[in-house]
């Protein structure tokens, strides 16, 4: 039974594409057949984050418009054989997307036997974001622990509950999950940033993961290797925990505290 998961936020720059790439890899690493689709037509970056930008021949819009077959557009990941990428067009814009076209592509992907279809949403609430969430079964709403991101996510949660196919047909609604990213425990302790509890109180949802702020994310984008594949990073562990929770496991939240520095590192300023 294929599950369509949208990764959305409202606010831009909070970590949707980073999350889409890492969650896709995390699921594929566990043997699931996964395809991740970039819905940000005209401003694509999923292919950059996945490291396959030089292998994009055909894109999502080409498939919708019938210029090529779906198989021709899907890019298989070189590291994980059950993972595929469907890149966005860089030359067109969101007007090229249609609801029927998106539905056809999703149906074809379901027929191909994928276990998970991840839709990487653009920022905002316009057509690209709307179509990315419209056919979703589940949503991962990415939030930074600061006021404008939380406000925008509240808006997105409202749209998920009203302007999606599941909401309109009344068959269960989209299952919503919150993912807190760029979490900095020191700034939370000093009161500059909102805590996990603050965000949960305002948005009324439990978090499926807390991903710490880290320079590893930028390094990952630069090298085209999704950060979850960096075994030495706390970010990788946090994303892996989130994937486990998405699959139904219960795990305690990590990385909520500042890492304690040992005696020697404090002595020698490490």
């Amino acid at each position: 039974m294929t599950e369509i998961i949208v990764v959305t936020s409202g606010k831009g720059g909070v970590g949707k594409t980073t999350t889409s790439a890492s969650v896709a890899c995390g699921l594929a690493r566990r043997g699931k057949r996964v395809v991740v689709i970039d819905f940000d037509i005209g401003l694509r970056n999923l292919d950059l984050i996945m490291g396959c930008e030089r292998r994009v021949v055909y894109d999502f819009v080409n498939v919708i418009q019938g210029d090529c077959t779906l198989k021709q557009a899907l890019i298989r990941d070189k590291r994980l054989e059950t993972l595929h990428v469907l890149a966005a067009s860089q030359t067109r814009d969101k007007e090229a997307l249609t609801a029927e076209g998106v539905r056809r592509v999703l149906d074809e992907l379901i027929a191909e036997g994928f276990d998970y279809i991840l839709c990487d949403s653009p920022a905002g609430i316009e057509k690209g974001a709307h179509l990315a969430m419209y056919y979703a079964d589940r949503a991962v709403v990415v939030v930074n622990p600061e006021v404008s991101s939380v406000r925008d996510s509240d808006r997105i949660l409202g749209l998920l509950a009203s302007k999606t196919q599941r909401a309109e047909k009344g068959n269960g609604g989209v299952k919503e999950h919150l993912l807190l990213t760029r979490y900095n425990p020191r700034r939370v302790a000093s009161g500059e940033m909102m805590s996990v509890d603050d965000v949960k109180e305002i948005l009324g949802l439990d978090v499926i993961g807390v991903v710490p702020e880290s320079p590893d994310v930028l390094a990952a984008s630069n090298s085209g290797v999704p950060v979850i594949l960096n075994d030495e990073s706390d970010v990788s562990l946090a994303y892996d925990d989130a994937v486990a929770r998405l699959l139904g496991e219960t795990l305690p939240l990590r990385f909520l505290e500042e890492p304690k520095r040992g005696f020697f590192s404090r002595m020698f300023g490490g």
């Binding site: 406000r151 925008d152 509240d154 949660l157 409202g158 009324g204």
Partner: protein, 246 residues
């Protein structure tokens, strides 16, 4: 708008099933407002109308509005008018008016008196007294959180929200607004003028409260109210706020 009777076919003599079902429906009706009872003029103008859109007007039901005549027409005048209307191709199905003589005409012509309706272009007066809700009709219930950018309006009754109202959301009621959760957005009670309406919430973080049009914006939350259960009401022209728990 008229109500219509629907009838089913007559039942068999052996079966005790009812011969008719009565239901209330709504139809749109063309209103023909008479400015004169001159049958020739009426026939000419109506014939022209019917010819301009025969599929729409031919044999269509119309109600005759007598309010613009400025006087009560005689029965014979009306019979002649109705004949002209029928010859033009329209079918009178009702009368609209407000005079006492109308009842007599209605009986004599065998046409019902229909309530006058307001066409779309007529503006509604700005201040309307709030309709009294019928006893026994419960408040509008909102169980899902009201998210930023959403608006919920309870017409002619109270609004009860059993979750939170997010910043940037609006909850509006003609009656009272009861929020069993945090209020971070706007709450408007007595939206159509009911000054006794109140706003209640369990955690006061609101952006704006308005009761019967008197509003207050909260740039900062007073410390004695912030985050607490609070009720707001109108005292004359002033909004008053007080913590709910004693």
């Amino acid at each position: 708008m008229a109500s219509i009777l629907t009838t089913t076919k007559p039942a068999d003599a052996a079966a005790p099933a009812p011969a008719i079902d009565i239901r209330f429906g709504q139809v749109g009706l063309i209103q023909v407002r008479l400015r004169s009872t001159d049958p020739g003029a009426i026939l000419d103008e109506l014939t022209g109308r019917v010819a301009s859109a025969p599929l729409f007007f031919q044999r269509t039901g119309i109600c005759l509005d007598l309010t613009a005549l400025g006087r009560d027409p005689q029965l014979e005048e009306m019979r002649v008018v109705m004949d002209a209307v029928r010859r033009a191709g329209m079918l009178p199905v009702g009368l609209v008016g407000s005079s006492a003589a109308l009842e007599a005409l209605s009986a004599a012509l065998d046409l019902p008196v229909l309530a006058p309706f307001r066409p779309q272009t007529q503006t509604v007066p700005v201040v309307q007294p709030a309709e009294r809700a019928e006893p026994g009709i419960p408040a509008l219930m909102q169980h899902q959180p009201v998210r930023s950018g959403q608006r919920v309006y309870a017409r002619s009754r109270d609004l009860v929200v059993t979750s939170t109202v997010g910043a940037g959301a609006e909850v509006i009621a003609d009656g009272c607004v009861h929020i069993y959760g945090a209020l971070r957005g706007r709450a408007v009670a007595g939206a159509r003028g009911e000054a006794s309406a109140r706003v209640f919430c369990q955690a006061f973080h609101t952006e704006l409260i308005s009761i019967a049009g008197v509003f207050r914006v909260f740039e900062t939350l007073p410390p004695e109210l912030a985050g607490k259960p609070v009720q707001a009401w109108l005292d004359g022209d002033d909004l008053r706020f007080a913590p709910l728990s004693s």
